[in-house]
Symmetry: C2
Subunit: 344 residues, 2 copies
DNA sequence: TTGTATGCGTTATCAT
DNA sequence: ATGATAACGCATACAA
């Protein structure tokens, strides 16, 4: 194999007949260099195809132009769109991303963060981190060591930089929409572990109170795995069950589109037509909401925007590490498609 | 902010009252150290929470325990599952991944590879790279500089390490399945730029010859963007058109599931029932094939396996850089679901 | 304007 | 068994 070693700054210096320092100056354009020597150096650089070793540079500045991104699962549509949003903005600022999967395991999460610190990333963005690690103060501690932005996670009293979609308003609007269409018995479907589910359930409960809906604890359905095909399967099971057992329920609010798909399949299995006989509303506005039949009415939370804002935010914090913490909230928007209709 | 600097090996040495070298030896366990001193050092390490700086280490060994992954688009289901497969195997070998999006742009692709080289990744896995860059010999050149594995890309005469799914066999089996069900006029739907589409079209043409099907160039449909929601839209348009114009066609082979969804929507729009009146077969077996109604008969190419094998392969090459190039082919499998039926 | 020397945090070589 | 010192490739304070 060719294995020809990469040229170093010393090689360039020798070829150009100048000192290492001069080459460095030409590279970084941070000190004046005589035009003639600059030409010489540039020629040498080109000839040797010299490109600086970013490791060496990082060692000196303790900066790597790298942002670590933590995600529970890259194969999940929600997260990949957020990642794309992040990528699109930080790329322009010369950063690249270091992506890690946690599989939703709190311990993995910590391990991965350690790994990133070892690799001297300049900042970390944690997408949907486990509530447990936020509450315990773990992330607050990390936040003091290294620039950190948390997406879709939050806890009062824990000081970090947060970027959140407004799950509260989104949920409220969706529920109100159903209410205005005449629905009174709304099933609520959530996954077990996530801050975002907690928020939504909270709103659901308050909503029932506010609108004096007959509240039934059994109308709150919980599945284990929140994102992906398993969520579809699990949701199908629990939704089928409740429709069979409670003939009053006329609609369902799902905490994400996967669950909504499961509900769709449950209705299909029971030969109940959506939306004519049963309405379903999803959350996230992932691509699958446009693929299903009928297409899903859902709450858009601007995932790409979520990523972009987080990307910008992390860059700000990196630049000025003493910036005070902020909680940025992104608006949601109800997307009307074909899975919701008025109550018969 | 706390900003307390990370402890270095020197801090540990001082605290333990030994030399830097000894600490290094304790860390790496590669030289004998007296039990007593080892204890001392370990205690100091713990106390200072010392973790070695991977950048410094990388600078010496010119290794970073990092694998760069190039993907046209992380938000695409196909790629994210492959990435997950890669991740799952290399993680155990102490590597982490460096992920880059190319947006399918050949120039971006080169830029990203440069970037990875600058960051001294130990190896690169390129998923669905642009044919152009393979043909031009660009990747062959890279392959000589750094361990490289190409997933789902190939060109005869270009020497690289390839991992491919057997698109030929998969396509052939799908077509034969349709044929055996009585279909004779099969529409072929592909995207414009990708090796995998070329392979499939090639098989399609040969298949028509072999089975003496009346060949019609118009039955080959081409859309621009191959992956994602755009593909759905574009496919819908062209499929609607051909169904309207050619009443002989009774089924369609799509080069991926997105396109198949588009075809599904086209049929729906024309009130043609699938599979009773029109059969559709997809490719990839992404999760969407289980979400659509009807669910999609499709060709599974074991995306996770594709990733795992590539992960193992890159590790092999890294360990022994003089290993000869290999072309590894993964089997595909037809998944029977509900979008295909016999010809009326 | 340019060059010398030192340091970033580690590991490897050579002594002792 | 342990330690001093020279690399790794680059940037910069200081000198000239």
């Amino acid at each position: 194999m060719d294995q020809q070693k990469r040229a170093t700054i010393a090689d360039v210096a020798k070829l150009a007949g100048v000192s290492i320092t001069t080459v460095s100056r030409v590279m970084n354009k941070n000190y004046p260099v005589k035009e003639a020597t600059r030409k010489k150096v540039e020629k040498a650089i080109e000839e040797l195809e010299f490109k600086p070793n970013l490791l060496a540079r990082g060692l000196i500045h303790n900066k790597t132009q790298t942002i670590g991104i933590l995600t529970p699962s890259i194969e999940n549509l929600f997260f990949s769109e957020v990642v794309k949003g992040i990528d699109s903005v930080i790329k322009n600022k010369g950063y690249t991303t270091f992506l890690c999967n946690t599989e939703g395991d709190p311990e993995q999460e910590k391990l991965m963060i350690d790994n990133m610190k070892d690799r001297s990333v300049d900042g970390i963005i944690a997408i949907n981190p486990r509530t447990k690690n936020i509450k315990s103060g773990y992330y607050e501690g990390i936040s003091k060591q290294i620039p950190l932005v948390i997406i879709n996670g939050y806890n009062r009293g824990i000081h970090c930089n947060y970027v959140l979609n407004d799950g509260e308003v989104g949920t409220y609007e969706a529920l109100k929409y159903l209410y205005e269409l005449g629905h009174r018995d709304i099933v609520f479907l959530r996954g077990r572990h996530s801050y975002s589910y907690d928020v939504k359930e909270d709103i659901y409960r308050k909503f029932c109170e506010e609108f004096k809906l007959e509240f039934d604890e059994d109308n709150i359905l919980i599945i284990e795995d929140g994102n992906g095909l398993e969520a579809v399967e699990q949701s199908k099971v629990v939704v089928e069950k409740i429709i069979r057992e409670n003939d009053k329920v006329s609609c369902l609010f799902a905490c994400n589109d996967w669950m909504a798909v499961g509900a769709l399949k449950a209705a299909k299995a029971l030969s109940i037509s959506v939306p004519e006989e049963f309405s379903i509303i999803g959350f996230d506005n992932t691509i699958i909401s446009q693929i299903t039949e009928p297409s899903l009415t859902t709450v858009d939370q601007n995932m790409s925007g979520l990523g972009q804002i987080s990307g910008n935010r992390i860059c700000e914090i990196i630049k000025d590490r003493d910036k005070e913490n902020k909680k940025i909230i992104i608006e949601t928007r109800l997307i009307h498609r074909n899975s919701v209709a008025g109550r018969l």
